[in-house]
């Protein structure tokens, strides 16, 4: 099987993550729309997962047999997802310039409809991706495929009831080939999650639902990489795995950090220049 080669050198991965952050702010700036905050916060996770952890076939196919599968549930952070896929080699990085434009494969929220390599499920309307990931994990079990299914959700997204339907199902059916990460940046559109709709003790909630709970700093490359690697290699725990991944919304761009205002606002020209000055070019801009 031809998988993309893995990179586990931390400074190399950090270079890629910084480039993904440059892509994110440039993509969102170019169309003056999109969601930079959550995208920036998850750049380290995406980099670790796609470059250091998953077995990903170089030639994309929808069924994802004999490879690890990732589904993005919080589809609005599509800029981070698209940049990661392009930088990994699924499609040319030049196509990132078409983000959110007419006739593009890079829709505002991820879609399979235009045939973009790397996307297996439309997402954007929140709360559905975890269930879909469970379905993909069940298919792997039926196929005797030892690879894993990874899924990322937002933390505000946990306010959707379907998430807890899925949580109950995965524990009941012992879906232990599923590794879910929650982007715990504590922000959502209308404000901090504790003000909009308190999520309470998330670790206790997931444990009570029968999951094995892990915590990690999602902006510490070494920490998130080693935890994802460990969970990928782990077998037959009998329990679905969840990482409460603490991140900073807007990570890497100081004026965007920790503020829900940057959930879905694009930077203007001078803000873009300011942001790019903080993000050293690594692999070359698209």
């Amino acid at each position: 099987m031809n998988y993309f080669p893995k990179i586990t050198n931390i400074s190399e991965l950090q270079l890629i993550a910084t480039q993904i952050r440059r892509d994110i702010v440039r993509m969102v700036h170019a169309v003056q729309s999109g969601h930079p905050g959550g995208s920036l916060g998850c750049a380290d996770y995406f980099t670790a997962l796609y470059f250091g952890v998953m077995d990903s076939k170089e030639n994309f196919d929808m069924n994802g047999i004999e490879e690890d599968v990732f589904l993005l549930s919080n589809g609005h952070i599509s800029p981070a997802f698209y940049s990661t896929l392009a930088r990994r080699g699924y499609f040319p990085t030049s196509e990132l310039a078409s983000f959110r434009k007419i006739n593009s494969r890079l829709q505002g929220h991820p879609a399979t409809h235009e045939g973009l390599e790397g996307i297996r499920m439309a997402s954007g309307s929140l709360g559905q991706g975890l269930s879909a990931a469970i379905g993909a994990a069940l298919a792997k079990r039926l196929n005797n495929d030892p690879h894993k299914v990874f899924c990322l959700t937002g933390d505000g997204e946990l306010q959707e009831g379907q998430i807890w339907e899925a949580a109950m199902f995965a524990a009941h059916h012992k879906v232990d080939n599923l590794i879910v990460s929650i982007d715990r940046n504590e922000q959502q559109i209308d404000g901090p999650t504790r003000e909009v709709m308190s999520l309470g003790d998330l670790a206790a909630k997931w444990e009570a639902f029968g999951w094995q709970v892990h915590q990690a700093n999602g902006n510490d490359m070494t920490e998130i990489l080693s935890l994802l690697q460990k969970l990928k290699e782990q077998t037959t725990t009998g329990k679905p795995q969840v990482i409460i991944m603490h991140t900073v919304m807007g990570k890497g761009v100081n004026f965007m950090e920790n503020s829900h205002h940057w959930h879905g606002i694009a930077p203007n020209d001078s803000q873009l220049a300011d942001a790019l000055a903080q993000l050293q070019p690594g692999l070359g801009d698209y």
């Binding site: 047999i65 399979t112 269930s131 993909a136 298919a139 379907q162 339907e165």
Partner: protein
């Protein structure tokens, strides 16, 4: 010429048993077929599939939204998921999941919906969905199939498994006459002309097909030659069959166990008005909710019987300006 009297009652059974038996056959024929249910195994007649293929069945509990998205995910890996629950919980309750995770994502999921319409009976209007066909036919890339009896529902279940893409398969609760045979030509998107006639076209789906045949018998006794078309596929609609029939008869009655808004009659009206304007009478629920009662009482109270089809035929023939034949 095939006549209404050519359809003897071969027995009675519920259409949901046709689904259950079809699913069980599929289990044997296709090891990629998997089934999901939301705490309604007995109602959906899924027991035989579950007994013989337990590893390919997933009990979801009372959580239909989760079931729909899991079904979408199971296609990643090459499976053909069949979801089973009441029509109400198969559509309105989970519309966004179907729209985003199944239809827009191009997933090959078969949404199998029982207890549709008024004939659900005593449980009342909370469960009697009469808007489901409209919701599902509005979704791009969704196929909508409404078979007419036990045998046809079994064949339709086999057919949707072979159809590439998302399907909505609608069937019902009560035991009704069986009048189609195992050797019928059942092709998705191809209407069946059950009775040939020249005076009026009766185009029906689901439980109303048998009522249409009975209506054609009554009309024949009055010297009126009615054509009866079983439009088991609402989408893609067999427009050619409609136009061919109306070209002979010049007027149409549609009949269905669904709201007028969004139903089969609505789709036929679009075809007629854009291709061959002709009077149409729609026998369907007239913008109201149902209520508790036995199915026959309900169908009579809300005007969905053979008699209503006869009245509609007599009315529509009067509205016809010139008989084309």
């Amino acid at each position: 010429m095939i006549q209404a009297t050519d359809f003897p009652v071969l027995g009675t059974n519920d259409t949901r048993s046709g689904f259950g038996d079809g699913l069980h056959l599929l289990g044997k024929q296709n090891d990629k077929v998997v089934a999901l249910c939301a705490d309604l195994i007995g109602s959906l007649k899924m027991n035989k599939f579950i007994a013989d293929f337990p590893e390919r069945f997933f009990q979801c509990g009372i959580a239909e939204a989760n079931m729909m998205s899991i079904a979408a995910g199971l296609t990643i890996g090459g499976y053909v998921p069949f979801t089973g629950t009441f029509a109400n919980f198969s559509t309105g309750r989970v519309y966004d999941q179907i729209r985003q995770s199944i239809a827009y994502s191009g997933k090959n999921v078969k949404i199998c919906a029982s207890h549709a319409g008024l004939t659900l009976g005593e449980d009342g209007a909370t469960h009697q969905i009469l808007e489901d066909v409209g919701m599902m036919k509005m979704l791009p890339e969704m196929t909508v199939v409404v078979p007419c009896d036990y045998t046809q529902t079994k064949l339709a279940t086999l057919a949707v498994a072979k159809w590439d893409g998302a399907c909505y398969l609608r069937f019902g609760r009560p035991k009704v006459p069986i009048f189609t045979t195992e050797d019928q030509d059942f092709t998705i998107g191809k209407a069946q002309v059950l009775v040939e006639g020249t005076d009026v076209s009766i185009i029906a789906c689901g439980h109303l097909v048998w009522q249409s045949i009975e209506a054609a018998r009554t009309l024949a006794a009055q010297g009126i030659s009615a054509e009866v078309i079983n439009m088991h596929t609402i989408k893609p609609l067999d427009e050619a069959a409609i136009l061919q029939s109306v070209n002979k008869t010049g007027c149409v009655v549609s009949a269905e166990e669904h709201q007028k808004n969004g139903g089969l009659g609505d789709s036929i009206a679009q075809v007629l008005s854009t291709n061959a304007p002709a009077p149409l009478e729609i026998v369907a629920m007239n913008d109201s909710f149902g209520e508790s009662g036995v199915p026959e009482q309900l169908m009579e109270k809300y005007g969905l019987t053979a008699n209503n089809i006869v009245e509609a035929a007599l009315k529509v023939m009067k509205r016809r300006k010139v008989h084309p034949v």
